[in-house]
């Protein structure tokens, strides 16, 4: 599936992805998702389309452990978050809820570029710039969790928490 790139700067915090002032909406995820990333790019939640990509610089998702941050990004229809690096907790949360978080060189991607993800091949294709960006495989445990669609499904399949 092809989607557009939404570019973000370095160090986007979870407070910008899903601000604490909307804490009261956390049990109403569709409403919470209407504010996704609005403090970083106001037009994002109203204009993002199914299949689009969040494309960031370094240290995306720094700060809080709120799993609502990757959840609302996924609910917006985002295929994957691409970044030069991720904050640790956001990365783990994204995989746990089945949102691909991919470390690659995002500097070559421009705003609104058409992107296509080939997850199992380790390639993001930028159809606009006509380039292929490769990324290293995830750790085997994280790959297995993501393949199952998230940690709950992974644990249910194995009947326990095991390492792959």
């Amino acid at each position: 599936m092809v989607g557009r790139a939404w570019k973000f700067v370095d160090n986007i915090s979870t407070d910008e992805i899903t601000p604490g002032r909307y804490m009261g909406l956390r049990s109403n995820l569709p409403e919470l998702a209407k504010h996704t990333l609005e403090d970083a790019r106001k037009e994002f939640p109203s204009s993002v389309r199914q299949g689009d990509f969040v494309v960031a610089g370094r240290n995306f998702g720094m700060g809080s452990s709120r799993e609502h941050a990757p959840l609302v990004i996924k609910m917006c229809g985002v295929t994957a978050v691409l970044a030069q690096s991720f904050a640790r907790i956001f990365y783990r949360n994204a995989i746990n809820i089945g949102l691909p978080a991919i470390v690659c060189d995002t500097t070559k991607i421009n705003e609104s570029d058409q992107l296509e993800l080939h997850l199992s091949d380790g390639v993001v294709e930028d159809l606009t710039e006509k380039i292929k960006l490769t990324f290293p495989p995830m750790s085997s445990t994280m790959n297995a969790i993501l393949s199952e669609g998230g940690l709950i499904a992974y644990v249910e399949k194995h009947g326990d928490l095991v390492l792959s």
Binding site: N11, S13, D15, E16, P19, G20, R21, M23, G24, L25, R26, S27, N28, D39, R58, N59, M62, G63, S64, S65, R66, E67, H68, S85, A87, R88, I89, R92, N93, N96, I97, S139, T141, G150, L151, I152, V155, E156, G159, D160, L161, V162, L163
Partner: protein, 420 residues
């Protein structure tokens, strides 16, 4: 064979094999799991999804806190808190209800001991490292699994050693030391790593200051922050009535660190984080013309009783600046009661402070003194990301309780040494 870092020791002792080295991916048993009103409803939803998995929930080691927005300002937050409260009551789990205090402070006061491994739905779980317990924050799904199965998976982190030499000068505190550290590391300089503090200045630091250091390890991206367990740790446990839980733990002398950074505490000035990032740090002298509309003294970073004594010492007999809002939120009920016994509440009230119930206060931006548009708030908390204190049009500066108090008196960011 090389020796072990603190992270390797604390994680290793929770594996089936009994030891672990940096880079290993391991399953560990957990001593405590916790959640709170900000993440608890999602965690409970995930727990309920796991109904096919046999439950290993330990009623004495699963803690639910209501601390992030207390007392609740809206019906939506009240409903979320009711979900958490009722779940804890119905399942006979530990409940630290609204008014008891902030999760990280209560865990230190009442539960954690050196050597423990704890995971919780809060990024500041790394605060536990001030007691030489391994704590790390995770999301609701991970903690649901850890709560139900009493185990989690971890990659054993490489360790970055902060070797803090010298001693902290008068008017300079652990908060200044960690802000200085963040100015060196940036917000991702310790990503995935264990940030381990050692050296002469750390040996001299009481546990309340060590908790401030480890609390902010996550602001450099670290998985956890750790300090050894020594005689000062024993003294802290004695003060909270759990001396029998003390044991000595230190890194081996030949432990292998990814890197070591030397920092001389004697050279550190009071530090201030400018708006936008806790690593956007400069000495207080470069912030002295900044006019402040609100001072917030609170959070899991500061406002232990030792912090409150420093606040009272500076504020005694003085008034807050005219037109400035001074909000003080003790970190726990015990700290609040000690403030009462020691006359600190009287000093605060006479100076014109508002004292709010123990909890996270305005740090989280949901309750307790949200600033107006274009206002400047000076906070003793750990984060000043855009919008953090509830209003994206306000600006947040961070500093020590002493700097915050001096600032409350003058109305401008002020070097606390002028008052000490």
């Amino acid at each position: 064979m090389t020796g072990k870092t603190l992270a390797e020791k604390l994680i290793g002792s929770h594996t089936a094999k009994g030891s672990a080295s940096a880079g290993d991916v391991v399953i560990v048993t957990v001593d405590y799991t916790f959640s709170h009103d900000a993440a608890g409803p999602l965690l409970i939803q995930q727990l309920n999804q796991l109904n096919k998995i046999p439950s290993g929930v330990d009623k004495n080691r699963t803690v639910f806190f209501i601390d992030h927005a207390v007392p609740s300002p809206t019906k939506e937050l009240s409903n979320d808190q009711a979900i958490v409260r009722n779940y804890a009551l119905d399942n006979d789990l530990i409940l630290s209800d609204a008014g008891n205090g902030i999760c990280h402070q209560i865990l230190a006061e009442d539960y954690l001991s050196p050597g423990d491994l704890m995971v919780g739905t809060d990024s500041h779980s790394c605060t536990a490292g001030g007691l030489c317990a391994f704590g790390t924050g995770m999301g609701a799904t991970d903690i649901a699994i850890a709560t139900k199965l009493r185990k989690t998976w971890l990659r054993v982190p490489e360790s970055l050693r902060m070797n803090v030499l010298g001693r902290l000068p008068r008017g300079v505190f652990a908060k200044d030391l960690i802000l200085k550290t963040l100015s060196i590391l940036g917000t991702d300089g310790a990503t995935y790593k264990s940030l381990e503090f050692d050296g002469a200045a750390i040996n001299e630091l009481e546990v309340y200051g060590r908790l401030t250091l480890t609390n902010m390890a996550v602001e450099a991206g670290a998985k956890t922050g750790l300090v050894k367990s020594d005689a000062r740790t024993k003294q802290y446990l004695k003060e909270v009535g759990r001396e029998q839980n003390w044991k000595e733990i230190q890194a081996d002398e030949d432990a292998s660190y990814e890197s070591t950074i030397d920092l001389n505490a004697s050279d550190v000035q009071p530090q201030v984080a400018f708006p936008g990032s806790p690593a956007n740090v400069k000495p207080v002298s470069e912030a002295k013309d900044v006019r402040v509309n609100e001072v917030f003294i609170g959070t899991c970073t500061n406002t232990r009783i030792e912090d409150m004594r420093i606040v009272a010492q500076i504020l005694k007999g003085k008034q807050k600046a005219r037109g400035l809002k001074l909000v003080v939120t003790p970190s726990s009920k015990k700290v609040y009661m000690k403030c009462m016994e020691e006359g600190i509440l009287e000093t605060l009230l006479q100076a014109g402070a508002m004292i709010t119930p123990p909890g996270c206060g305005v740090c989280y931006g949901a309750v307790g003194g949200i600033p107006a548009d274009n206002e400047v708030i000076f906070s003793t908390s750990n984060r000043n990301f855009p919008g953090r204190t509830g209003n994206p049009k306000a600006q947040t500066y961070l500093g020590s309780p002493a700097t915050a108090t001096a600032t409350a008196v003058t109305g401008y960011i002020t070097d606390p040494r002028e008052f000490m």
